[in-house]
Symmetry: C2
Subunit: 433 residues, 2 copies
């Protein structure tokens, strides 16, 4: 039952992702038509540089007036792959108002204004899909939203930024320092000239907000996500991690509090046991580990970025939105019914690996242990090692049991006040156990 009038699709942005979307829409037009039940037609492509040669795209479709394009009124779907907040946000809401559904890959916008955009979609009876916004090609939002719709997610633990995973993997496998590994990532095109969004965790934090919102049926904004970058991870940290049978990953962690009525979302580097499935995720790959009540431990793995992988996710959404349209229905929208409290970082409970430089003399361990006890942080293991360099200093590595982040912070503050503690060399959370 093939409908012959094509569904009209506009493309906003024709860079790495957009050009792949256009290419696949052309080369696999027959497959898409068969899977949707109607042909899809590229009706317009909004670009910033109209003079650039775009192979396989009819020049007559190119326009610099994105606003006029989304206002045409005859569009079925608008694909937004511009990125950033504006003009993307206004173009999306304008598209809804003019009767089109939207497929977006825009994590920053969705993390910032997801609820408002969903509301606008509902107001105009349109769909808003954005599988490509998190973990590129990896089917993740649809499984979380639909496949696990009958389950109860406890925790989502994700490597959702390929650049930082590439850097950390290099540091782990070659012993390189951060700067050296970053330089290699830049040379190979895995890191941008300004890597801030990646290495400071902004990109991962946006994805964490989106994941937490979907996993816990609760609005989680980008400002709710505690964020620490990975620029201060050192080769020494990797040595410490290896001594514990761990590696170090930049993780996006979304989890329920112990009482079940609160959730938290955070991004920071963490030690992760080598036996954990995420520990084996190499190079620029992404993977998301989900722990839920009934399903248990699931992992989704794949390329988290790149033109073709991201286009795959965009086109999967395009097919879904087109099918919904032909059925006269819309897909599942925002689900925020649970309305759980979003905790601050102080309430997050996890384990810690703390390296201290201390005076190499008797009684230091007792002093340090007393501080931990006073703050209610229980110690799991301690490893003390004289430097043997005549400095009179030793290093003390403490791994704690689970404790609230606030308690750990007060512990560290108190430790810094001890005369015998010369410095806190590093503090790293230990996850995945």
């Amino acid at each position: 039952m093939m409908r012959t009038r094509p569904l009209k699709v506009a493309l906003l942005g024709c860079g790495v992702v957009g050009s792949e979307v256009a290419r696949i829409m052309t080369t696999h037009a027959d497959d898409l038509a068969a899977r949707i039940g109607a042909p899809v037609e590229l009706a317009g492509v909004a670009v910033r540089r109209p003079d650039k040669v775009r192979e396989g795209i009819d020049p007559a479709l190119i326009t610099t007036d994105a606003t006029a394009l989304v206002k045409r009124g005859d569009l079925d779907v608008v694909i937004e792959v511009i990125g950033g907040i504006e003009p993307a946000r206004t173009l999306i809401t304008t598209a809804f108002a003019h009767g089109a559904s939207v497929v977006s890959a825009n994590k920053a916008l969705l993390a910032k204004d997801g609820s408002a955009l969903h509301a606008a979609a509902v107001e105009h009876g349109q769909d808003l899909y954005y599988e490509a916004a998190v973990a590129g090609a990896i089917p993740l939002l649809r499984p979380l939203r639909e496949s696990l719709a009958g389950d109860h997610v406890h925790r989502v633990l994700g490597i959702v930024n390929g650049t930082t995973n590439f850097i950390l993997d290099k540091m782990d496998s070659t012993g390189a320092g951060y700067q050296e590994a970053l330089d290699e990532a830049t040379a190979l095109g895995y890191a941008e000239a300004d890597p801030t969004a990646d290495v400071e965790g902004f990109d991962a934090a946006a994805k964490a907000a989106i994941l937490a919102g979907i996993a816990f049926h609760t609005r989680v904004g980008i400002d709710d996500v505690h964020r620490e970058g990975m620029t201060e991870v050192t080769a020494a940290d990797f040595a410490s991690a290896r001594a514990m049978g761990c590696t170090i990953k930049l993780l996006a962690i979304c989890e329920r509090g112990a009482d079940g009525s609160s959730v938290s979302a955070r991004v920071h580097p963490a030690m992760l046991p080598l036996s954990h499935p995420l520990a084996g995720v190499r190079e620029a790959y992404n993977a998301v580990f989900v722990e839920s009540e009934a399903a248990g431990r699931l992992m989704f793995y794949g390329p988290g970025a790149g033109g073709a992988p991201t286009a795959s996710a965009v086109l999967g959404d395009l097919v879904a939105v087109c099918r919904n349209r032909l059925a006269g229905a819309t897909g599942p929208g925002e689900s925020a019914y649970a309305g759980l409290t979003v905790s601050g970082m102080g309430d997050v409970v996890t384990r810690y690996h703390i390296s201290l430089d201390v005076a190499d003399k008797p009684g230091v361990l007792a002093q340090v242990a007393t501080v931990f006890a006073e703050q209610g942080v229980s110690i799991d293991t301690v490893r003390q090692q004289g430097r043997g360099d005549g400095s009179g200093e030793a290093s003390l590595v403490v791994v704690t049991h689970r404790a609230p982040d606030a308690a750990l912070s007060s512990t560290v503050e108190a430790l810094r006040k001890l005369d015998t503690v010369r410095g806190v060399a590093s503090i790293m959370r230990v996850e995945g156990e």
Copy 2:
């Protein structure tokens, strides 16, 4: 916008999976209602043994008359977790005819009669969902069918049977033989008293048929799947695998032929490089690796069986089917538009690891190499080793380049005719490269 009239759900079967489904429907009723947009009510439970105590299920709902239950006419969804061909098939089609959609976990039935059941669903305007039929809790069919709907799948490589993965993992990690590992699996409850369906690959073959059908938009029946069990894998095979940097897994492999117009599906043990993401799948876990044109390499990992994990998949489908119902729509049904040819095993192209017992004298390697050349099978590496036991025998391990299975079979037949070849100790395919 919560509808107050509940959706009525009947449960066929109340064993390990069914009782978990009923439990979650009760304990998480509020979550399910919020996610669906209407409450769901357990309207009846068909069982074989009505006298068994079933905690948390109102005894008034229990019936032994499954046929009468699915004919009630007021049901919205029937959940079939009986398994097997009959009476499951008749109950499902009866449910459709009486206005209910169906969620099933029945791989054997779907692999055998999936097309007919889909046709019956369409005829009556109902949904047929069966995420739980393949790889238990792992969201797999929905991602393949929906998330990758705009992509072009080349190959699906899966560990889809937990029992055999547990056995092979034990053999690999402990050096145990097949029987010893099977005994441990049985003692721990990972293998059934009669393990035939698992160890002979019947279970995996049913899943391969379902996966191939969805991945390639082509009808693939259970009889189209080439099936070899793993009962003949030996400790010596694992030693050979390790020497190649491989492990051995029972794989379900669905792939396109080189020309793109044919597909094949097969289940057999195979050597897999340790660097392949599937090689790290331990114990009874399942994982499915998907290679597609745009998305690249994806992997889905999780528990492949068990009451709660399977119930998670069933309930995800229940939520989807109920949402469709409230929207007055049905979800994507069977997609078989591509109608590709299903190749026999002879046309499958892969690599082979062959261990031969040969006479330990000059010229044998030349003879053997000639046979391979005559059959058009190109040799990648050869390793020759005298036994040193005075037997006058040596072992010869040949690893081939990619060749059609038929050519390999003729090669082996010709090798057996050589006087200098005392025996073919093992033949194993090498995948995942």
